[in-house]
């Protein structure tokens, strides 16, 4: 007891004695912006967010083309926000980039940069997101996604599509970085092509949803491995490369020559062709 008391009494003042380096005053700046919907029939968005939390959701109001709430450390970052309407105002083009101004120092308080973007639910959207260090949470439920690209960096990324995309999505491209990636309900996007490139972090791609047409999926497995979850209604054909340090686990498949077919392949109305290039990590397919 006595020793414990001495230990606590001695550590507390030492903690108190810690002298922090000169502190830069932190002034979190907040920007909220709404772009009203004019005559736009489509929107092309490029989002780059180097450090902090990024959230993308469907907007609540039809009269807004997009809106965002941004909070950032004014001393260290600078947002570069551009919007223009092309083709006689029919095509909107929105770009957002939060750039670091490279001022260093210890902050008295730390508030992460945060942005919450909301896109119009009735305008077809081409969305390209480059997330750097930090969490990215892309909730695409309710949006009309025409094209979707994600390049995730160090932090983890979560993609969710809980309801069917009202329009067909031409292309889905996902490049995973160091952090883990979790996607749920990608089948709801109604895509014809999905390309996934794995990084160091593992990835889980849940491809359940309302499938309306056949699709091609090309996967380059990175170091972390990938887990595909397929809905039972879809017939799946898999071609997998054989590499020395990789594993392929397919549940419910039969092999014909070098191709693997799901047991429902002949009877399924929707067919998905999965081409896998394995790296160090393996691939696993299970059924939901």
């Amino acid at each position: 007891m006595k020793k414990g008391s001495i230990l606590i009494l001695s550590i507390l003042p030492m903690l108190a004695g810690c002298q922090f380096e000169e502190q830069i005053p932190v002034e979190m700046a907040s920007i909220s912006r709404i772009q009203p919907l004019a005559h736009e029939k489509s929107l092309d968005s490029m989002i780059r967010f180097d450090l902090g939390s990024l959230e993308i959701t469907a907007g609540g109001k039809d009269e807004h083309l997009y809106s965002f709430d941004l909070e950032y450390d004014k001393a260290s970052y600078e947002p570069d926000i551009n919007y223009e309407a092309l083709s006689k105002g029919l095509e909107g083009r929105f770009s957002f980039n939060l750039r670091s101004t490279h001022k260093k120092g210890v902050r008295k308080h730390k508030y992460n940069n945060k942005i919450r973007l909301a896109f119009n639910k009735s305008i077809p959207l081409s969305l390209a997101v480059n997330a750097g260090v930090g969490d990215a949470r892309l909730s695409l439920t309710g949006m009309r996604v025409k094209r979707f690209n994600l390049e995730s960096g160090v932090g983890g990324a979560k993609i969710s599509v809980y309801e069917p995309n009202p329009i067909a999505c031409e292309y889905v491209g996902i490049k995973n970085g160091v952090g883990g990636l979790e996607a749920t309900g990608l089948g709801n996007l109604d895509f014809s092509t999905l390309e996934f490139e794995g990084g160091v972090g593992g990835a889980s791609l849940d491809l359940t949803g309302e499938w309306k047409r056949d699709a091609d999926i090309r996967i380059k497995v990175g170091v972390g491995g990938i887990h595909l979850k397929m809905p039972r209604e879809v017939g799946v054909k898999v071609e997998a490369d054989k590499h020395f340090l990789s594993g392929v686990q397919l549940e419910g498949f039969t092999q014909r020559n070098s191709t693997y077919y799901s047991e429902n392949y002949e009877t399924a109305k929707i067919h998905v062709f999965v081409r896998v290039e394995t790296g160090i990590g393996g691939i696993k397919i299970t059924w939901i």
Binding site: I11, L12, M14, A16, H109, G247, L250, Y260
Partner: protein, 568 residues
């Protein structure tokens, strides 16, 4: 403890001293403990040494120091130096902002470290009439409690970070402002600080506002990066904050609340509550309707006497003891609902839905979810896609219109109507009528009591197993178009072949409700009492086809493995 080993009073005196210093500081008296400790902490080592000398003088022992003490002091110095060193790096930022949950309270011990100086300023404003009150703040807490009628009393605590000289210089520049604001729509009494007019380069500071207003007041608070707490105020409350806790207790009125990223705690509120939240929310004892839009964070709601409407995006919601009707739209969010006295309507996807003890009807629209329903008094209607549904102890009817949904029911007292595909349906202890259809998966039904409406089970590419109660009276019409028909029920006539089909039509016990069974490409089995696993002709369950290719191992070395199991 013997007198010989009686410890010195030094430790006790130090504890008391620290306690007094902290207590005085909490009342705003005296300098910051940490600023003193930061400079004078080595005195503690000197005091410990003095204690040793005192022990020597009083006990007349030989002056000695044990090896353990030397090692202890040595370790302390190393730890202290390491922490000091770490504090000079970016790692310190992490520890400084690390929140620690103590009970229900989130604290940031790191914020206690370093120099800060507090100054207070108080002001009292007279309200000519009961004007609505608006409080604007950022980087600091706002707390509101009832005070005297006709006045507003404000206590501003300025917490200034940095060295003492700069803090002293800056303190008078931070001012409290209270004035009446007239707009074409309304008049307000506005309380705020002059933060916006101060340059951030002048220093970092927090402004905590403690405000006392007349108990019956309309109140609007707009805060950012700071807590908001309101107690015992009656009126229309419009409260907003970000990043920090929002707490409202023991109030009456209408509540319009927004919290971006921070936790919300609402308790003992009399009136309708609307909350938009992107942080954890805990709500209890509400007399009125509750409407919540919540994203990405857990939501808990208990004891609501009113209607509950929730829009929840991811994470989860848990609600219990709700008197009014409940409507939940949960996208990718777990739902747990118990003790619901009125109707329940849920839209859910991709997560679990756990419902128990509901006194009225349930409507559920779900996809890719795991659904559990227990102890439901009313009727259940489910529109489903690729769910896993388990239900038991149901008083009312059960209707499911789904695809790729598995269903497991037990102890159903009302009629059952199920349409699904691809996944098995298993019903036990059925006590009423039943209509089930499936494709590409099996159906098994155990009947406890035959309902007057009878049983109709149709399957396309799956088996039908049916167990009927002993000594039952019924008319059977069973057809296995391209499969086998096995009957173990006493009193049934043997089946007959008709082309590829096997047909069994029979009246048992003088007839009664109709039992219609029909499969296209699989078998039918009829038993008495309960279903026995397996049959001599067919395994009980289809084996899944599994291909497991282990590419870690090379074919040429004889280690390549490929396992394939197919339907037996």
């Amino acid at each position: 403890m013997s007198a010989r080993h009686r410890p010195s009073l030094l430790g006790a005196l130090l504890w008391i001293g620290f306690g007094v210093l902290f207590l005085l500081r909490n009342f705003g008296i005296g300098p910051s403990f940490w600023s003193i400790a930061g400079r004078y902490w080595p005195i503690l080592l000197i005091l410990l040494g003095l204690g040793k000398i005192l022990d020597y003088c009083l006990k007349k022992e030989t002056f000695s120091i044990r090896i353990g003490e030397i090692v202890g002091i040595f370790i302390l110095l190393i730890v202290g130096s390491a922490i000091t060193k770490i504090s000079e790096t970016r790692v310190a930022r992490f520890f400084r902002d690390l929140p620690v949950e103590v009970g229900d309270t989130s604290i940031q011990p790191g914020q206690w470290i370093g120099d800060s100086y507090s100054y207070t300023e108080e002001a009292t404003y007279t309200l000519d009439r009961s004007l609505p009150v608006r409080i604007e703040n950022s980087y600091g807490a706002v707390s509101v409690a009832p005070g005297r009628e006709g006045e507003i009393h404000v206590r501003l605590k300025k917490v200034i970070y940095g060295d003492e000289a700069r803090a002293r210089q800056m303190a008078p520049q931070i001012r409290l402002e209270g004035s009446q604001l007239k707009t074409p729509e309304a008049s307000w009494f506005v309380i705020k600080t002059n933060r916006d007019s101060l340059s951030p380069q002048e220093g970092m500071f927090n402004t905590d506002l403690e405000v006392m207003i007349p108990k019956n007041s309309r109140l609007e608070i707009s805060n950012s990066f700071g807590e908001v707490s309101v107690f015992e105020i009656n009126g229309y409350l419009d409260l907003k904050t970000t990043h920090r806790k929002l707490e409202v207790r023991d109030c009456t009125g209408t509540f319009n609340l927004t919290n971006r990223y921070g936790e919300s705690r609402l308790a003992n509120l009399n009136g309708n509550v609307t909350l938009t939240s992107r942080g954890k929310a805990y709500i209890e004892n509400i007399t009125g309707d509750v409407t919540i839009n919540s994203e990405f964070s857990p939501l808990e709601i208990y004891h609501v006497k009113g209607k509950v409407s929730l829009l929840v995006n991811e994470n989860g919601v848990h609600l219990e003891d709700i008197t009014g009707p409940v409507i939940i739209e949960a996208r990718g969010a777990r739902v747990k609902a118990a003790n619901i006295r009125d109707n329940l309507r849920i839209t859910a996807s991709y997560q679990s839905v756990d419902i128990s003890d509901v006194a009225a009807n349930i409507w559920l629209d779900s996809r890719f979810a795991a659904i559990s329903l227990q102890d439901i008094k009313g009727n259940i209607e489910i529109n489903s896609n690729s769910d896993r549904v388990t239900a038991g102890d149901l008083e009312g009817s059960f209707k499911l219109n789904g695809r790729a949904t598995s269903v497991k029911l037990d102890d159903i007292r009302g009629p059952v109507d199920i349409q699904t595909s691809l996944k098995d349906v298993a019903v036990k202890n059925l006590q009423d009528n039943c209509s089930i259809s499936n494709e590409y998966a099996d159906i098994s039904v155990t009947v406890e009591t035959l309902g007057k409406g009878g049983i109709a089970i149709r399957n396309r590419n799956g088996a039908i197993d049916l167990a009927l109660p002993a000594n039952a009276s019924f008319i059977l019409d069973a057809t296995a178009k391209n499969g086998q028909l096995e009957s173990r029920y006493p009193g049934l006539e043997p089946p007959r072949k008709d082309g590829n089909a096997v047909i069994l039509r029979s009246k048992v016990g003088g007839g009664g409700p109709r039992v219609v069974l029909e499969t296209m490409y699989d078998n039918i089995r009829i038993e008495e009492g309960r279903l026995h696993k397996g049959s001599p002709d067919k395994p009980n369950k289809k084996e899944k086809i599994t291909v497991d290719i282990d590419l870690f191992q090379d074919k040429d070395y004889g280690l390549f493995r490929q396992d394939t199991t197919t339907d037996l």
